[in-house]
Structures are given as C-alpha cells and as structure tokens.
C-alpha cells in the first residue's frame, strides 16, 4: 500500500532525526532491560522446572539416576545462555558515553540504570561490585529512585547472601570441628531475625512488610524468603546431618511464609495450576504450611 503522503514523509523525517539524537541513551537502557529480562525469564524457567521436579534430560556424571530436582542438560545450556544475556545487559550499560549518562540523569532514568547494573552484576557472580553499585545508587537523590528500583536495591544484599549460600552448598568449605559455629554463622546470615547486620530473610521480611498484598513483587519476595530458608536447611543438612527440626525458629517462620505464599497465589487470581508452586515447596521439601498466630498476623 502506498499510503505515505508527502507531508507525512516530512513528519517522519523530522521525527526520525530528532529521535536519533534524543533517544539513544533510552534505547540503550531498553536494550539492556530486554536482555536482562530475557535472561531472567530463562533462569526462572530453569529454576522453577527443577523446583517442580521437571528437568530435561538429567545429568549426573557417574551415577545412574539423578537426585530429584536436578537440572537437565537442556537446563544447563539455558543457564549459560542466560549468563550471556546478563553480560550483554551489563556491557550495554558500561558502554554509556558521558553524554548518554547525562541524558539518563536528566530523564530521571539513572536510578533505573544503576539498579539494572547491580542486578546484572549480582547474576554474574560479581557480588562485591553489585554491592558497591547498590551503595552508589542509594546515594542518588530521591527523584532518581523509583519504587521498584528502590525495593530491588534494598533487597539486593539479601539476594547476594542467598546466592552465596547456594554456592557454598554446591561446594561446601566444611571444617568438621567448626561445624556448629559455621552453622550459626549461616543462620545469622540467612534466617535470624533482628540482628545487625540484618540476615537475608530479615531484610526481605522488612521490605515485604511495606509491600502491598498484591502484585508480583510480593510473590517474588515470598519466594526469596523461602529460598533463604531452603539454602539454610541444606547447609543444616551438610553441617548438622539433618534438616532443621520442627521447633527450629527458622523452620517455623518458613512454614508461615509458605502459608503466605499459598494464600497469595489463591487470592491473586492467577491460574489455579500455579498453586503447584506452593505444593512443590510443601511436598518436595517436606515443609508444612502453618498459618500465623492471629495476633502476629494482625500485627
């Protein structure tokens, strides 16, 4: 169809010229957002498939059958693809020129940019750099920081701690005679309430308290809290030989969080089959959901 009229062409040229000069920095940020989101979607897919015990072809070199919940070959390939996505996002943000940086600041997108950079650094295992970026971003004036970005920056140290624990679980640096002390250190880092510095779970819980009862951020925070407990339980297995007992405060709190997750999924209007997420935590990790005592819940 030849619908383009002469004056429309003029409009298009004018718009095109202006956009080329004005939107480069925004487009670079959008590219980074796209690459990051795509990588995160892949990572979440892999992790949730393993949580639901639905891996692809299993890999356990040297053993006949893998443990339930093991990743498959395909999943491992996806994981490496997602790393490339995070790296692309980070690279895109590192290539910002001073002029583009200034434009992002003037467009009040600098907080969003730094948050994305911190997230990408976290996912690439650059924990120290990620925490430094968080520190820089938190010092920005309020107009640069928007709600989701502020929340992400606040919980990022917790996410780093959870990932750190996951890495330890895979290759434990275990000293038998210090096992009890080691367990307490991990408890303080991951699940203890009311300490300074705050544990991962405590940090997540404080943010959760400020988050409304709806939305995907709440779901994300609940899943992160369960992840913190799950890694603690695994460290408990390694260092103490058993799962945390039913009267362990960390396990009791995790049971309440699981109940919250179930309630959230039921009330969010999502597809009922998403409840399988809650049931996987319950049945695979043998964690019973327990409603909070009424007084605590109201509080």
């Amino acid at each position: 169809m030849a619908l383009l009229q002469p004056h429309l062409l003029a409009i298009a040229i004018a718009i095109g010229a202006l956009l080329l000069t004005g939107c480069q920095s925004t487009n670079r940020l959008r590219e980074a957002q796209s690459a990051f989101s795509e990588a995160a979607r892949t990572d979440n897919h892999v992790l949730l498939a393993a949580l639901l015990d639905r891996p692809g072809s299993p890999v356990q070199p040297g053993s006949g059958q893998p443990l339930p919940g093991s990743a498959g070959d395909q999943d491992l390939l996806s994981a490496s693809a997602s790393r490339a996505g995070y790296a692309a996002a980070l690279l895109s943000l590192r290539q910002l020129t001073p002029r583009e940086t200034a434009q992002l600041k003037s467009d009040r997108l600098w907080g969003t940019t730094l948050t994305l950079r911190a997230l990408a650094q976290w996912r690439l295992g650059q924990f120290e750099e990620a925490l430094r970026t968080v520190h820089t971003a938190e010092a920005l004036p309020g107009e640069q920081l928007h709600p989701r970005d502020r929340t992400v920056l606040e919980i990022l140290p917790a996410l780093v701690a959870i990932d750190h624990a996951a890495a330890w679980v895979r290759t434990p640096a275990w000293e038998p005679n210090r096992s009890n002390g080691g367990l307490e250190i991990w408890r303080r880092r991951l699940v203890s309430p009311g300490l300074d510095p705050r544990s991962a779970d405590d940090r997540l819980n404080r943010v959760l308290g400020r988050t409304g009862t709806e939305g995907s951020m709440r779901l994300y925070l609940l899943m992160c809290r369960l992840a913190a407990y799950r890694n603690f339980a695994e460290i408990h297995k390694t260092l103490a030989g058993t799962l945390p007992t039913a009267d362990d405060p960390a396990r009791r709190e995790a049971s309440h969080v699981l109940q919250d997750l179930g309630d959230h999924l039921r009330q969010s209007g999502a597809n009922p089959t998403t409840l399988e997420l809650f049931l996987a935590w319950k049945n695979r990790f043998a964690l019973m959901p327990v409603p909070r005592p009424k007084a605590t819940a109201e509080e």
Partner: protein, 531 residues
C-alpha cells in the same frame, strides 16, 4: 487525500512533527521508566535427598498415608530412623519420595494422575515480571494522552485553519478528538519507533474524515467506538511488534515490518472512517461501504480481528487482502457478527481463522492463481453465513472448517477446478468466474439447506453429484468449449434439476439466473429458539 499539497501545509506538517517528536521522546522515557522487569529468583537448592524423603513420609498431612500402606517403604523409614540406610537405599527412598510427592501434588490440585494439565514452568517464570509502580494510578508520569494531546490538538488546529471546510470545530468533533486521544492512552506499551510511526498516521486519517454531513453520523456510540478502534489498533500492533535490538534482528527487516503493520493500521482507520462518513470517492468499489453510523458495536471488533489476522500472518494475508478488499469484508463481517445471537463480547469472531484457513486451502490448490480469490471468497462466505448465522457460522469450535459454507467452498474448488485431463475441454475460468460459481452454489445452499447439506452440516451427496453432472455437461459439449457465462447457466440448470425444479428448455440466450429470492432472514430470537 483531502488536504491540498501546498508548501504551507508541508511546513505545518514539519512543525507538527517536530513538536510531536519531542513529546513522543518524553513518552518513550516514561515508558522506559515504568517498564516491567523480570526479576530472577536467587539460587536455591532444588535437589532433595533421603532426609526430605523421611521427613515427608513421617510428617502428618504429608506422606504418612502412603507410608502406612507400603511395607517396603516402612522398612526403609525404619532404617532411616536408625541411620542405617545403605547408599542405594537412600537413593531408593529419595525416588519414592519424588513419586509420592508428585502424586500428592496432583491429588491436591484435583487432577488425575496422567492428565498432563500441570503448570508450565514458563508460565510461572512470567509471574516475576515486576512493574515499577504496582498500580498505574501511582505512576506520577503524565500519560501518553497528556503528553500528546496538546500537540495533536495544535496539529488539528493547523489543519483546520488551512482546510476550514473539512475540519469543523463545533458539533461532534471535540467529542471525537477526545475519544481518539483516550484511545492513544494504551500506546505506552508500544516501543517508540512504532509510536512515532503510527500516531501521526492515525491522526492524519482522523483529520481527513471529520467533515460531518448534516445529522450526527457519529451516533451516540461514536466516541466509544472510535476509542475502541484507536486503542485496539495500537494494542494489536503492540502484540505483533517483534523484539529488536537484543536479538540482533535485521533493522531493514524491522523497518519493513513496521511499515507494513503501520500501513495496515492506518488503512484500517481510513476504511472504517470512510465507511462511517459514506465517502467512497477515493475507493471505487463494487461494494460501496456505508456503515450504519458508529452505532455498530461490532465494527471495532471485526476491524481489529482483520488487523490481527494480517499482522499475525503478514507473509500471506498482507498481499492477499489488497486495499480494496477490506471494505466488503468488514461489511460482511459486521453483518454476520451483528446477526449472530450467540456471540459474546469476548473471544475471536472466527474471521481471522477463516482467512488463514482459506489461505491454506488456496495455497494447496494446484491452480496457484486462485490465491488472489481469498478476499472475495471470504466475503461471500461471511455474507452468506449472515443469512442464518446459527446454521452457517457455528461458533462452538471456532474452527472455520466447521462452517458448512467453508466445507462447500472447499468441495467446489476441489471438484470443479482441479487440473485434470478433462479440464482442457472446459471453459477458461477467470478468477472472477470462480467466485461467481462459488457464490452461485452458496446461494443455493443458503436457500435450500435441506437439499445441499446433511443434518450434521456437511455437504450432502447431492452437491457432489450436481457438480460432477455439470462438469460432464461441459466436457461433453460439442462443438468447442463453452464460455464461462454459458457454464454458469448450465450450472444453474443442473442445480435446479437436483433440487427437483427442472426448468423448461429455454433458448441459449436466456440471461443467467444469478440471484434467487432470498429466504426471510431469521431474527436472532428465532434462530436461538431453533438452535
């Protein structure tokens, strides 16, 4: 083109473009700020071993019920309690746990063991896309409407000052513009190059069709319909925007795609507006389009379904649905959907599926030139289906092949127009003859469905017999080949004979009987009762 091509107008356009681009850039920045971001979950251990297994089978409410019915499992649990499981037994217990945990999960979800309706991890992964502001109302950035309204209004005034006779500032116009601007409000989902491509085009189309003849042709539903149409076009386009940048896609291809989809968005807007204003001057068509004002609530629905079909299968439908074909298709679709008593507000009308089905059919047909018949055939099917929608456009399955008229069309194309050895002795049918012949048969089926259709809606044996008899007549004809017009007359006679109404022999010059008295159309209520 209503606006004269003058230097002044060109300057107006450029100035408007510059102003618009500034606001669009800011809207783009706003959209980037509020853009969803998928947050990756932190890593946690997903593997379980015999310790989770033992916990599962010994915790009331989890797996104790299974353990009590399985003596072997009991023996493993006893050993676990005494920490005397061998390595193999640990693995065995762990795998029993995996199986029983999956069973428990399916039981608790209320599913059968093997029905396969479990959640897709990908679906779950998408739940972690987090917006900057949980609710749109909390977002302090101006909406796209607020960003663009001022500039667009100024553009409108500029156009009006140069074309005062086409652009009236009183009457329904302010309402119309307001509806249009509100429709633009969904455009924050649209990446910028698309936004700056489409918005001026849509506005231009609107500006050119706001001359209002006496009487309020926009009707009471007008603003709502225009709003639905504008927002719908942007939404459909947003749905089909291919990812760019990160995937390294070819920018030339992106530009071509963008142009094509933007062309269609604009074309749709123009066609609808032309239909509303009754302006057929720029589109000579055998089906002068005149919608019955904006009161048709089916109008945006059918129009957007057509756009969706083209955008989702541009390789085939973009070319096949040429610019002149949209008006009759829209008219036929609106009538069908408007007549159909069973259509709810949601869901597809089935029209995109019909177009794709016909594209498949014509693509597979040995006579490839028939691919150009798609819009006409679709229009005939929709038009005839509108005669008795319950019977001819069943919506339960949403499968176009469920429509008897589609099945009949398929049968005619297959039986009558295949390349066979006898084909050389038949008339040289042009595409328009093929459409006329299909139309002729569909007309019969609508008038006498009891003759041409089986009770289940499939074509009756009589149809096949009739077509074969007609083909035999054409092949046996001596001397020479019949003309297409003669062939159509012969078909009419054969169909009459099959229906049991043989005509007295008439002279060959008798004009072809191309239209038959229509049966009285059933009202929706009657149709519903009949169904």
């Amino acid at each position: 083109m209503m606006v004269s091509d003058s230097a002044t107008l060109l300057l107006v356009a450029i100035r408007s473009g510059v102003q618009l681009s500034g606001q669009i850039r800011l809207a783009h920045v706003d959209a980037t700020r509020r853009r969803e971001l998928v947050l990756p979950l932190p890593r946690f251990e997903t593997r379980t071993d015999w310790r989770e297994a033992a916990e599962f089978f010994t915790t009331p409410g989890l797996g104790t019920g299974y353990a009590s019915r399985d003596p072997y499992l009991q023996s493993l649990l006893d050993k676990a309690r005494n920490s005397s499981l061998t390595r193999e037994e640990q693995v065995e217990l762990s795998h029993l746990h995996a199986e029983y945990a999956a069973l428990k999960t399916t039981e608790e979800l209320g599913q059968d063991w093997a029905d396969g309706t479990r959640v897709d991890p990908e679906e779950l992964a998408a739940l972690f896309a987090v917006r900057q502001w949980q609710r749109r109302s909390l977002d302090p950035s101006p909406t796209v409407l607020q960003r663009l309204a001022g500039v667009l209004w100024e553009m409108g005034v500029d156009y009006a000052s140069h074309q005062p006779d086409r652009f009236q500032l009183h009457g329904p116009l302010p309402r119309t513009l307001q509806a249009f601007f509100r429709g633009l409000d969904v455009s924050s989902d649209l990446p910028d190059p698309w936004l700056s491509e489409l918005v001026p085009r849509l506005f231009q189309a609107l500006a050119e069709h706001t001359s209002t003849p006496p009487g309020d042709i926009w009707g009471p539903r007008g603003p709502k319909t225009l709003h639905q149409l504008t927002s719908g076009i942007l939404r459909v386009v947003a749905r089909h925007v291919p990812p760019t940048g990160a995937d390294g896609s070819n920018p030339v291809e992106d530009l071509a795609t963008r142009d094509r989809i933007a062309d269609w968005g604009e074309h749709l807007m123009r066609t609808v507006l032309r239909g509303i204003t009754g302006d057929n001057s720029t589109e000579p068509s055998p089906f002068p389009l005149r919608f019955h004002s904006f009161d048709s609530k089916e109008l945006p629905r059918v129009a957007l379904d057509l756009l969706d079909a083209v955008a989702s299968d541009p390789a085939r439908l973009d070319h096949a649905l040429g610019s002149v074909s949209l008006s009759p298709l829209l008219s036929a679709g609106i009538r069908l959907i408007g007549e159909h008593p069973s259509f709810s507000e949601e869901g597809s009308t089935g029209i995109p599926e019909l177009l794709k089905h016909l594209a498949d059919l014509l693509e597979a047909h040995p006579q490839r030139r028939f691919s150009q018949l798609l819009p006409e055939l679709a229009e005939r099917i929709l038009r005839h289906a509108g005669e008795d929608p319950i019977r001819f456009w069943p919506i339960q399955t949403r499968a176009p092949s469920a429509s008897p008229l589609v099945a009949i069309t398929e049968q005619i194309l297959t039986l009558a127009f295949q390349d066979t050895t006898e084909a050389s002795s038949r008339p040289g049918f042009r595409p328009s003859d093929v459409v006329a012949i299909v139309d002729q048969v569909l007309n019969r089926c609508v008038d006498s469905p009891e003759v041409w259709l089986q009770p289940d809606g499939k074509p009756a044996e009589a149809l096949q017999l009739g077509i074969r008899r007609w083909l035999a007549l054409l092949t046996d004809r001596q001397p020479g080949r019949a003309s297409p017009a003669q062939a159509r007359r012969a078909l009419e006679d054969v169909l009459d004979a099959v229906e049991g109404n043989p005509k007295p022999k008439t002279s060959p010059s008798r004009p072809a009987k191309t239209s038959r008295p229509k049966r009285t159309r059933r009202s929706p209520q009657t149709s519903k009762a009949a169904s």
